[in-house]
């Protein structure tokens, strides 16, 4: 088994873990959103890697009858996932703006502390 057989998946794992760790360890809400984006990108890489075929080309028909095409299904899934991803990111960011206006901070710990104090 050579190094190149799986290393795309390894990069996926590394990015996935970095994203996950960012979400869990950082208390800044924007940083969490950024972590979520990284996490998302990692999953996209995973899907697209599975659609790849050796010696293949993009799934747009060409005249060559012997052409091998990569699998179009993961592409369709991820294409829409990216756009839906930016929609959810925008929603999250707009909530962050409102949180900043209500609490004066976007640090999770300070928000929790304020909640504690007001009880």
């Amino acid at each position: 088994m050579s190094f190149f057989d799986h290393y795309n998946y390894w990069i996926f794992v590394i990015l996935f873990v970095i994203g996950l760790y960012t979400i869990m360890s950082r208390t800044n809400l924007i940083k969490k959103m950024i972590g979520l984006s990284l996490f998302q990108i990692a999953v996209f890489l995973f899907y697209i890697t599975m659609g790849k075929i050796e010696g293949g080309t993009a799934p747009i028909f060409v005249d060559d009858p012997n052409a091998v095409y990569s699998n179009p299904l993961p592409h369709v899934l991820i294409l829409t996932a990216i756009v839906v991803g930016v929609a959810t990111t925008a929603l999250g960011l707009s909530l962050v703006v409102r949180i900043k206006e209500s609490f004066g901070t976007i640090d999770e710990e300070e928000i929790l502390r304020q909640e504690e104090d007001s009880k």
């Binding site: 795309n8 756009v83 930016v86 929609a87």
Partner: protein, 347 residues
Amino acid sequence: MMEEFTNVFLMILLVAGALGVLYVRNLFVATMLLAAVSFLMALIFVILDAVDVAFTEAAVGAGISTVLFLGTLSLVGAEEKESKKKTVLPLLVSLIVGGALFYATFDMPKVGHPDTPVQSSRLTERFLQQSPNEIDVPNVVTAVLASYRGYDTFGEVTVIFTAGIAVLLILRQLRRRPETEPLEDAQPELPETASDQRVTPNIHDLVPHVVAKLLIPFILLFGLYVQFHGDFGPGGGFQAGVIFAAGIILYSLVFGMEYTQKLLPLWVVQLLLALGVLLYGGVGVVSMLLGANFLDYNVLASNPIAGQHLGILLVELGVGITVTAAMLSIFYGFANRSEFNKQTGEN
């Protein structure tokens, strides 16, 4: 060997960029690094033959989402506070998850092998072999997106529509702030939020003004090309919508929100937002009225292939309109937030 070298190089940059995003404290830098990571990812998608996805990632991931992050930063400030939270548990959880995934990759089939379950699936064969006869659109991704999976794409357009509405609802509300503590609001006047009162631009604005005026028509033209060329090459409604919105966002960054809202008032954007979804759904209803299933385009024209072409063209147009309007309404929501607060006398 050269391809592998490029691949490994890009992957190393990708991991380095991601680590940079994690460690850097300035959120502005983190956002820019995230955009760079998105661009690298787009390049890797091209290597992996996913040109449509690469296009989307470059336009959406690196383009629009960076604009949104920057818009948010201009409202909430860009410094991340040093967190005192213990980071041992998150690290442990991440490493365990990572370890489990890493262990699982050894069971994954070799990358790109033709016998993997994904490649030998009967669905794949069906789409790649039947779509020239059934739909006759060279780009299989467009064929699957707009025709075979048209129903799902309709759902996704609805999600974007909902997000556009939701952001407006959240950001165009009066703010309620606790009466007890006056909050100091540091709102750095970034160009996109600054209410530009000057009518005559000063000399420093001249260069961006001229460049923007030169660029914007071509950006919009490119958007139209991507929209209507999606059947033959990479592209389609999603990418075109984002490119179109990007052209208008560029206009507003350079000339100010005031002019943009004269050009394209919010109610027009909201109307377009609904119009795209209605167009998409309308195609489905028309095909039902003509006696076929929802979104079955075969009956739309004299023969099935012409019907498919017409159907794909119309739904992609619907997607393009909704995506443009959604991106714009989200942008308007962010860009107008500080202005909106001032108008309602809360600041």
